[in-house]
Amino acid sequence: MLVKIVMELEDVPGQLLKALEPISRLGGNIQSIMHQRERKTPLGRIPVMLVFEVGDRARLNRILAALRARGVRITQLGEREGAARTTALLIGPHTDIRDTIDRLDALRGVRVSDLSLAMGGLGQESAARMTITTDDEKRASLAVSNLQRIAARKKLLLITSLEAG
């Protein structure tokens, strides 16, 4: 799931790193960081908006606990509404997997957030697994139908998730 938090950091060097470390260590995948300097608090702290992806609620809770333990003040916490993830496998020659990913990334609200390749033996096809993260379910099915078209054109076997409809 995609999580958005706003935390207040003291305006001294090293503060951001201190906050980011537990997120990546506990499996969060940071997507964007935005300093809101114009909203500096009366006590001189700077709000930082952070968007990251995390596997499940339990991991998120661990991350939040670690942040609080470091004295990071979290002022807002929101799950990005309806952030959806779907996994797909592609089987075939993967000489231009980058192109497939670029085509998906070019869609608004769609991002290939994970890629794993298993090369086949000599003369055999390879397999690629990708995780596609989208802002909502509608974009997820749009991404899947785009992937279907790409796979058909490149003669790849596409294996989508049973739940992907």
Partner: protein, 337 residues
Amino acid sequence: MRLVLVGFGNLGRGLSRALIQKASFLRRSHGLIPRVVAAVDEFGAAVDEKGLNLTRLLRVAGKAGTVAAYKGGKRGKFALQVIEGVEADVVYELTPTNIKTGEPGLTHIKRAMRAGKHVITSNKGPLVVAFRELDSLARRCGVEFRYSASVGGAVPLVGLAKELLAGNEIREIRGVLNGTTNYILTRMSREGAPFEVVLREAQELGLAEKDPTLDIEGIDTASKITILANSLLGMNARLKDVKVAGITRVRPEAIRLAQEAGQTIKLIGIAKRGSLEVGPKLVPLGHPLAVGGTLNAVTFELDLAREISITGFGAGPRETSSSLLGDLIDIHRTLGG
């Protein structure tokens, strides 16, 4: 009830054994006294209007390779003659499947219905080629028509959907409907063994045909999806309406990638109004359709009950005789027995 068995292969024999073993149970629990008055195979026929001795029939047919070896049996092509000529209540059509023409089963079933006989079949061919035609012919002829064993083997899909879930609208049916491919996928996922090796092994175990094309190309599953679409979703679907992909390109490495993401790969057939599809799909480990070995599994998506899943053996003579016998008891009850 007087029965005619057309086809005395795996299922004809499996049914005969079940009839022997369950004779007193059927009488006691269902008031049903089945009597096989004729058995036919490709090479001959055995007829006795008082009832064949099934133990003897199994023995002599097992030895000679044809039911014609039974006392008084005849060699030659007799299926139609027996179906039309021998006095009987129910014809079991258990001949090999041909999904292109439906024959010889299609003609057997039509002739049996026109001769006023109820029909029970396990043969997908006639159902894939001419479901609507057979369904309405049965009605016009005033006979019962059952085909539980044709899809899912022992798993009572048709009865579950038509009887027990009758209050629901079925939105979608999806499932693992081919034991051979499920065995191959399971072995590849557990041992990482290559496709060709596992396929050869499945053939040696008798789980896959010498020509495994229909199974591994997904066509057998597509046939079953066609039957389910017609019989349970009220569609008028043909085999060519099903978008089909098989498992021949699925390698152990692909399954490993799936497993690393908490999923596995299954050959899934999906039937919903407006879209029929067969292909390998990612299924979460622990999902009702993530069954191993030769098992079949089906999920019905319903308006009231939401989801119902069922699992069991999709083939095997003893297992499938459960459906063949169930159909007989169902007809017996329908007729007020």
